[in-house]
Symmetry: D3
Subunit: 276 residues, 6 copies
């Protein structure tokens, strides 16, 4: 992930600093050294502290950055997440970008943790989707893991998920699965989307490894799980929220994928406080 992280951080800094931070360059003596701390302004599960560090170390490799909280840990309002020491001009130039990453990633981890807590004790697993921020998928998926979730495929190249339109284009569930099996690397499983019990049966017969139950009702999901009976994995999908997730998990599905984790989390509140 390191290559990608470096690329993402540099691009974000280039976007924000561009031809120069005119405020800092004109008002702050480059020799002034400052200390600052990243402080939680509310309760959340942290993710992205290494990304924040990378923002500053990219601007100045000699910056000192000490993380006090590990990603995945829950923090309370007032907790100090990290100490940073270095040229004031560097701290000021990196502040916004570091916070933008850390606040988003912690927001995702916090929302994920809420979903995971909600289904505790059921056998289900919360997984993410490809509904991530363009360009930031790796960070989004890392944040999901920090929040206790599990990752679905990264992208279109490392997982097969046959959806309704693939099925139609291939000429049916069975044809689609057979075509896929013949052409994909043998290292990949085959997942297929179903919306009715007949499709579940058909998928099962055709040898699908994972069966997605898309926008099914609770009763229908239970029936589908019973029908599958452990012969494939099952994944509930479609507009699932914190209110509905527990009941879904209790239908016995193996996986519950939640787009909101990454498309509708909000930024948590974190401040960077300079010591006087």
């Amino acid at each position: 992930m390191d290559f990608e992280l470096q690329r993402i951080v540099q691009a974000a800094l280039r976007e924000d600093i561009g031809t120069g931070d005119v405020t800092t360059l004109s008002t702050v003596d480059p020799a002034t050294v400052s200390q600052a701390e990243l402080v939680a302004k509310e309760e959340f599960v942290q993710a992205g502290i290494e990304v924040a560090e990378r923002v500053f170390s990219t601007l100045d490799p000699d910056i000192s950055f000490e993380a006090l909280v590990a990603d995945g840990q829950a923090v309370k309002r007032g907790d100090v997440l990290a100490w940073i020491k270095g040229p004031a001009a560097i701290l000021l130039q990196g502040e916004r970008v570091a916070l933008n990453f850390l606040q988003r990633m912690s927001g995702i981890a916090t929302l994920t943790a809420a979903f995971v807590r909600e289904i505790e004790g059921t056998g289900a697993t919360i997984v993410d989707t490809r509904k991530t921020m363009p360009g930031l998928r790796l960070l989004d998926k890392y944040a999901v893991r920090a929040g206790g979730g599990t990752n679905h495929r990264t992208s279109l190249y490392d997982g097969v998920l046959i959806k309704e339109n693939h099925i139609r284009a291939a000429g049916g569930v069975k044809a689609a699965i057979e075509r896929a099996r013949k052409r994909i690397p043998h290292t990949l499983k085959i997942e297929i989307e179903t919306t009715a019990l007949e499709e579940v049966s058909e998928a099962l017969e055709a040898g699908a490894d994972i069966i997605m139950l898309d926008n099914m009702g609770l009763k229908q999901m239970e029936d589908a799980v019973a029908l599958v009976d452990g012969k494939a994995q099952t994944e509930a999908s479609g507009g699932i929220n914190l209110e509905t997730v527990r009941a879904i998990a209790e239908t016995g599905v193996d996986l519950i994928s939640v787009g909101a984790l990454t498309h509708s989390s909000r930024a948590v509140d974190i401040s960077m406080l300079f010591e006087s």
Copy 2:
């Protein structure tokens, strides 16, 4: 913006498709042509339809994409935003990326429009911040405009905003403003952050063009606006939400900057429906 848009769209496609969409490549005949429509699944203000089009045209310049709704327009559940026609394999490969952009951008426009509506009739203007998604600032800021908001500076290079730590490093409000004035291009105004009335006075005397009133109470803001008395622009800032924004606007401030527009909007619900 065109260069940047092209770069952003290509990067997003590369992130999602990488070495190939194994599902589509294995199940869909490249010669199959499909039609699909983008449909609103809830009420919102649209932004990003050109970005969605660019996703498909980047994959295949010959795709046909007809936008039915202009950015900035409000839509109802069920409204068709665009018609798309081209190889099914292309539509399927671009679907998720196009929706990721369109759903985020429309989410920002919708939230912005809510803030703008809330302060209707006051003289204030809603502006955005640099609390945007790393790598997507131009799109985020475009979406704010589509929602009826106005943009603050793009980045650190095209606006001066002297914050508390710049002031301290420069040795006071007056020193900071003077240092900036001497060193920045004469085409830039000087904005400075204040947290108390004395600082407002000091900033005014030093000739600040814009005075940010940071996290002030309503009464304090009113006093600040009275004190400034049109000799500079005033900008309210700090944790402003839909509940508090009207009262703040009524203090008489010129500008209200809202980080939440871009750091905590949620994705609106849009589907891409294939015609059978």
Copy 3:
């Protein structure tokens, strides 16, 4: 693949042309138009004709290139693979790069086809490896498919293959498989390398999806296949050549991976002949 192909072709042209083809620029009138044909100088299975076309169209979008042989087709000495028409200067500048791609890719396809022919009638499948030319993996893997082979995982991100050193680091076959299962996307199967029958048993019990039989003798492989008994896929691996491949296929293994397809194929002989 299109993005990647464009990137690879441009890089190859930049490598070869750089600041300019001093010979062509100084001796050939830019207005001179020529016709040429790509001709097979020996028997082989073609792969890469689209790449060759892309070389010329990248130099000049108006070039006319008509492919007469489809990839995967066998050709005889003297067969014309394609007709090209355009500025002589363009044809001359693209010639070497186009041939470098086409000769290598056809070399891989030809060698793959020889392996595939050798095991005809057995149930085994020839697959490639990651022993490809750095930077050209996608083309190498495409050429394997053109030759009738099947692709193993593309890279380290789209397939799990637990090797001896992973096993040791994880503390044994069972531990390795369990660790992997908990952390990888559920869309990926788990393949594990074994070198002895006890390891095969252990892998099977731990639920491996694919069992690699690494450098085993024929008898040992047969025993392993019998032991696995269809409960997982089996893959023979290790220094397999055209002399040994048939006997290996007859042990009943499902897959036979051959590094030589991409690390030791030779370029086939193709000429670009200009019409006088």
Copy 4:
């Protein structure tokens, strides 16, 4: 070459690791440190040990890599080429890419050395061609030097080689040479391809610096060498192999260019063995 090497190595790692080595990340503790050695599994001439080192140091600058064999040196089966020590996860992620480079480059060096040995004692020099792997020309040419060969021009920009089609386009041998002389930097020599004695004469009269004897028979080559009589360099070219090269060298030509060095060498066998 350093810039280019860095670029090539990073691209190769990005190609192979992409979004992450799912096997290693899920099974190997990042804190585990390992030692490994690169071992020759057959006899060959080594080339590329610095490239192998760069692969690992790019992944982790603190890796320890000690080369025991210098490029250009012949090794026997069992010889240890280098010791490597560092995090097991790094060694495992870099292994395949490092070997892909080292095995190809050593393959080229070994084949080059065979040609060089074959013509020992004659005055001729073995040179390479532009028939290299797209994107890897610098490494291919380095490997040729490691094997005792000499490099022809790198690319189209640093050497003039007027071929049959340039001659035709320019209106004859004399016209082509004159046009080139007038337009190329004076730091470049002019080489021209000939296929018959009359062309050799004509080239000589027109002042060619180097005369390529393309696909001539042995007798014809001898005559050409006699005709040239030291007034230009001569280069034999066209399908030359280990069986034919000695006789060609004995015709008295100065240079013998061999495309097979880089288009048809095979990978030598090298293993990376982890210490238990």
Copy 5:
């Protein structure tokens, strides 16, 4: 600026070194260490010493480079600007690129200083323009500052300058200013080009922050300055040279923009002398 500097320096080195410095690689032992000094061969104001250092440190991070003269300082013929020590091969490969930067930048600083000296005692300020070398704007603008000048906007994104054709397209001075005010970030001032007194009045009334007096005569400029009377900044522009600049400054304008600073400065003479 650091990111940009790194990018610019690497591109310049890649341009000059490309696939390798054939002279140095073939004649200089990589182990030979040399010392050299950068020496002024004429009088000038230095700019760019850090860029020169970056050239060498990019080639070899362990090079020792000691700057003896700070940018902005005037030097005499024979002054030593810096000492450099490191591998002779590195010094030789970096020499030309380092000098190309340093000679241009010092040329700009020297010319700027001449303009600044010429208007000493008047209240005017010398500013640069966008007439810079494509790709080198940041360095050109830095050199202007080193010579005592001040920067105008960097580019089209960080300053508004409404020119004649914008005015015409917008439908007049007033309309143009109003349209701009409504749409640009509030952090930017508005500058407008005028060529006659009526336009100056109109611009003033429309609230322009800065009024450019384009190609006006001295008398007209004086009248314009009187008319503006401190209610906006004034900027003289148009073919200004060392002969005319003093009289212009004495008209009372605030700013004088001089394209020649960056489009027509000449390189100063600097040598890199190797110690024997």
Copy 6:
């Protein structure tokens, strides 16, 4: 050159436009179409009209650009160089970048033409150097050709020029030439720098192809030319200007290299006039 041109033009536009031309975007209706012409404001030799066209066509492929003057042609004040028609917003955004290229390149061509005219009738040739603008070498060298000059090597990779420090490092003139000859591609000539007649003799004996006479007096140059007597090419070098070049040419040297062509030319005056 096309690849490189595209890259250079895009970088220049990105540098100037960045996140957007705030002036044009806020004042000019995107639908407004304009016509403009590029007009010479003084006498010069034109170079770069294709680059100017590329600037506009990169912004908008549908722009209409008709060049009226071919590069290399001399123009008078008032001559129209090209007609341009397209969206006013595009013309305004491309104007400065197009002029920056065209004015510099024409400046180089004009200065080169002056040198060429000065030595008319002698046998000498004016050549350029590597003292070009970082990043713009190809354009600088093109402009030299447009002015009637000839190019020296492009960069360090396509020509050998052994300078004083290479000689010292190699252990003398003879050693340096021998080392070079053994290691460089046979397609390159060897040039060596000399400062005294003894060195000229030594270089000649060692077989140098080109002998640079560095900073020699006229008499010394004549003697050197006589000594060389056609057995190598001779190149005068070192601080040559329009006053001294004729006398130098009359010493009989073959080549005269002039750094000032590219390091100290001034921009010629060209305007872009919009039709009312």
